[in-house]
Structure formats: C-alpha cells, structure tokens
C-alpha cells in the first residue's frame, strides 16, 4: 500500500482526523510515562504524520509503547483522543504488516489473542508460555516470581475456559489471523 493511501485511510478516521487541530504544545509527550522509550513521543509522531510521514509513524515503536494510561487524553487542550489514535495506528500497522519487528508487544498481544481464541478466556500461564517461545529471557526473569505464585496457589494450573470456546474463536478471527501473520 502506498503512503498516500495510508494517509487517506488515517485521516478519514474520525478520531485521527482530530490530529489536524494539534497545536504541538507537547502536553501529551510531557505527560507520557513511556515517552523516553518511544522513538517519537506523541507530539512528534503527530508532527510527522501531518508532514505525510505515515510510513515512519506505522513503523515506529510509539503506539506499541502506549499503555493506555490516558494521561495525554485527559490533559490535551485540544481534546485530541491521543490514546485512541495509538490503537488505530496499531491496527493499521498490523494490517499493513509493518509493525516494528523489534518491539515485543505484538508478540504479547498475539499470544493473548491465541489463548482467547482457543479457550474463550485468558490464562496467564498460557499467554506467558506462548510468548516465552519467542522471548525466553523474559520468562527466565520471571521464574522467581512464578515460583512464589506457585507456593501461594496463584499459578493458573487449571485453564480458564468458556463452555463454548468455538463461539469466541468465531468472534476473534481477525485478531487471530493477524496474530499468525509473522
């Protein structure tokens, strides 16, 4: 997909269109707890998009670092739904297959979507097990905690399950399709 098409797609979305009224005050970036980790904090990301650099925005780690704390949205003087726009960028990046390969959240979400499609509910141990296949070091770092949880009867050994997992699988086809792209 070419950049112009992606830009049009971005600006036709009612939430994203509001980026046009951004006054570049930087309140969002100043409020963001993960700005230091992002390759472009929210204000800068919006400046790039308005300059037509949608490709940079979609490849950026910024939306994946967004934890939906909604500080930016609460404080933005222009009432721009910053966090909602981050969701839109994630969906667009995944659909276009250009999410940053170096970021671990897409794998985490995919492990989550996979368990949801299989069981209808999420079981933390399943998500961790699946995610750990790709990121064994994170699992190792959490071993000590896992053992403590086990000792307190808090490690999910029995999976969380609905009576009709197939129904939930049918509701999450897109999530899982996108979950198996890479």
């Amino acid at each position: 997909m070419d950049d112009q098409h992606l830009l049009d797609q971005f600006f036709t979305h009612p939430d994203c269109r509001k980026v046009r009224s951004c006054i570049q005050c930087g309140t969002c970036s100043g409020s963001c707890p993960l700005a230091a980790e992002m390759d472009h904090a929210p204000r800068e990301l919006f400046a790039l998009i308005r300059d037509g650099e949608i490709d940079i925005a979609l490849r950026s780690n910024t939306p994946w670092y967004c934890v939906s704390c909604y500080q930016c949205m609460d404080r933005c003087p222009q009432e721009i739904p910053v966090a909602d726009i981050m969701y839109r960028l994630k969906q667009m990046a995944i659909a276009a297959g250009c999410q940053p390969r170096s970021h671990k959240l897409p794998d985490f979400y995919r492990a989550f979507a996979d368990d949801m499609g299989r069981n209808g509910r999420m079981t933390e141990t399943h998500v961790m097990a699946r995610y750990s296949l790709k990121h064994p070091m994170d699992a190792a770092a959490n071993m000590a905690t896992a053992l403590k949880l086990l000792a307190r009867g808090r490690l999910d050994l029995i999976p969380n399950r609905t009576h009709h997992p197939a129904q939930i699988a049918a509701l999450t086809t897109m999530c899982r399709k996108r979950g198996s792209d890479s």
Binding site: P33, L34, A36, E37, Y65, V67, S68, C69, Y70, Q71, M73, D74, P81, A83, Y87, K90, Q91, I94, K104, L105, D107, F108, Y109, R110, F112, A113, M116, G120, R121, M122, T123, E124, M128, Y131, D138, A141, N142, A144, T145, K148, L149, R152, G153, R154, L155, D156, N160, T162, H163, H164, Q167, I168, A170, L171, T172, T173, M174, C175, R178, G179
Partner: protein, 285 residues
C-alpha cells in the same frame, strides 16, 4: 439483597485473595454478584490493538449475556475490564452501525443484542454509591488493623471517564475509608501508571514507574498500598519484591475494608500476597 450481574474477568481467579475478600464482603453486606453464565474474555488492550470489530464483538457478547439475564448493569473488579467494556459501550452507542454489525455477528451464534446496552460499574462504585451506609454500620471496633493505607487507583478507573480534578486525584475510596475508621494517607501517586501489560516484556522501563509510586507513598507516610485492579496489584507487589529492601505490602481495597469489618485476615486471602501484610488487633478506644 441487591443482585448485580458480575463479570469477574480472567485475572480474578489467580489474584491474591481478591475473590476471597469480595466474597466475604458480599456475605457481610448482603450483596449478590451473579456471575455472567459462560462469560468470555473482554479482549483487554490486546483485541482493540489488533482489530476493533473483534474487540467490540467480544464486549458485545458480554452485554448480550447480561441482557439475556435481564440485567441493566454489569459489575467488574478490574480496571482493564472496566475500561474495555465502557469503551465498547461508548463506541457502539455513538455509532449505531457498529452496534448493528456486532448484533449481526452475535445473531449467528443465537445471541440477541438489544439497543439499550447495560451500564458498566466497578465494584468500588457499588460499595461507595449503594452500600456505604451499611458499611458504616458494619464497621467493627474490635477487628484487625494494618496501619496507614495509601489508595492506588491506577489509570483506567478514572481516565478517560471522569474529567476535572477527580481524573488525576480521585478521593472516593479515601472518603469511604475515613467513614469506617481506616486511616487513609494523602499522596499524589494515586493515578500514576504502573506499566500495565508492559511490566513483563519491558520490566526495565516499568521499574522506575513502580518505584516512583512506592517512593511517593512512603514519603507521605503510607505503610500499605491498596489497589482496585488485579494488574495494578500484581505489578506493584511483584515489582517490589526483588528491588526494595523494605517493600510496602500491596493489598486489594476489599481486603482492607474486610479487616475494618472485623473479618479475619485468613478469610480475606491475605496469605496470598507476595509481600506479607502484618496486622494487629485494634486497641479498644
């Protein structure tokens, strides 16, 4: 007895004594939470990050289940479930086409989604708005006490749903605590972010966020942290165990309220915390 439709969410079953303490309060306060039959995961931040229609359908199914049982409200105990359901409700109310699309998808599974979507509430709202008088009467003066409590609301209980000062510094739980004789400390870390789902994949980035919350609470005289969400509780509890020499115990608000009602610590699941909480008998005044 008041009956509420209950959506426990996936993290509830392994949460540190959340279920035990909620059950104990329900019994004491005559509240009935009726678990939605065959509930599914709400999709949390993952589904909405991957595909919005799927995210809406997961929440829509929960709304349909509640409607089927005749409920106009759903109670949750998790900030992420609360925000995900509210977000889906708002989207579908604003855009009837989205609602129609979800209703259509659910119809294929024999579920009916009516236009009037159920309201979404946190269990905290139930305690504050519906039973605070009962709570006040039930407060015991011979129970266990644990000291000065700092409330940590986390992000998604207030934002983006409440505007004004309460979005940053809510006070509803502190007010409730004061009414029933719990000492609540005043601090400014109540709605800072704990790192949420990033705490596992990006523990290094989230460490300073957790330490900042704990430091502020400790500086303001807090001896115990209390939370209203399984993810916040886990992040603050597990996030302190290897890094802090003198960590602060991280509880659920239902455990702290349970103590104030004279319920025994073992019946509140307090033994399941990673950082142990020490309680002592209140001195008769």
């Amino acid at each position: 007895m008041t009956v509420y439709a209950f959506f426990p969410g996936c993290a509830y079953q392994s949460a540190a004594g959340y279920r035990e303490s909620v059950d104990a309060l329900n019994a004491r306060l005559d509240i009935q939470l009726q678990e939605l039959d065959d509930w599914n995961c709400c999709g949390a931040t993952a589904a909405f990050s991957l595909d919005e229609p799927d995210g809406l359908a997961l929440c829509g199914r929960l709304f349909a289940l509640a409607q089927k049982e005749g409920f106009s409200r759903i109670v949750t105990v998790c900030n992420a479930c609360y925000t995900t359901l509210l977000k889906a409700r708002k989207r579908m109310e604003k855009d009837p086409q989205k609602l129609a699309a979800v209703a259509h998808t659910l119809a294929d599974q024999g579920l009916e989604l009516a236009d009037s979507l159920p309201d979404v509430r946190h269990y905290l709202d139930v305690l504050v708005a519906d039973v605070s008088d009962v709570l006040e009467k039930a407060a015991a003066d011979n129970g266990d006490t644990a000291g000065a409590v700092a409330v940590y609301y986390g992000c998604q209980y207030t934002r983006p749903w409440i505007s004004g000062p309460d979005a940053q510094r809510p006070r509803m739980l502190e007010r409730l605590f004061t009414k029933i004789g719990i000492h609540a400390v005043d601090h400014s870390a109540g709605t800072l972010c704990c790192g949420a789902s990033h705490a596992v994949p990006y523990a290094d980035a989230c460490g300073p966020m957790i330490r900042r919350i704990v430091r502020e609470i400790r500086n303001k005289g807090g001896g115990i942290i209390t939370t209203i969400c399984p993810m916040c509780q886990f992040n603050l509890d597990a996030g302190q165990t290897d890094r802090q020499t003198d960590p602060l115990p991280v509880t659920y608000f239902t455990q702290i309220i349970g103590l104030a009602l004279g319920i025994a610590p073992k019946d509140l699941g307090l033994n399941k915390l990673l950082i142990p909480l020490r309680t002592e008998k209140k001195k008769a005044s």
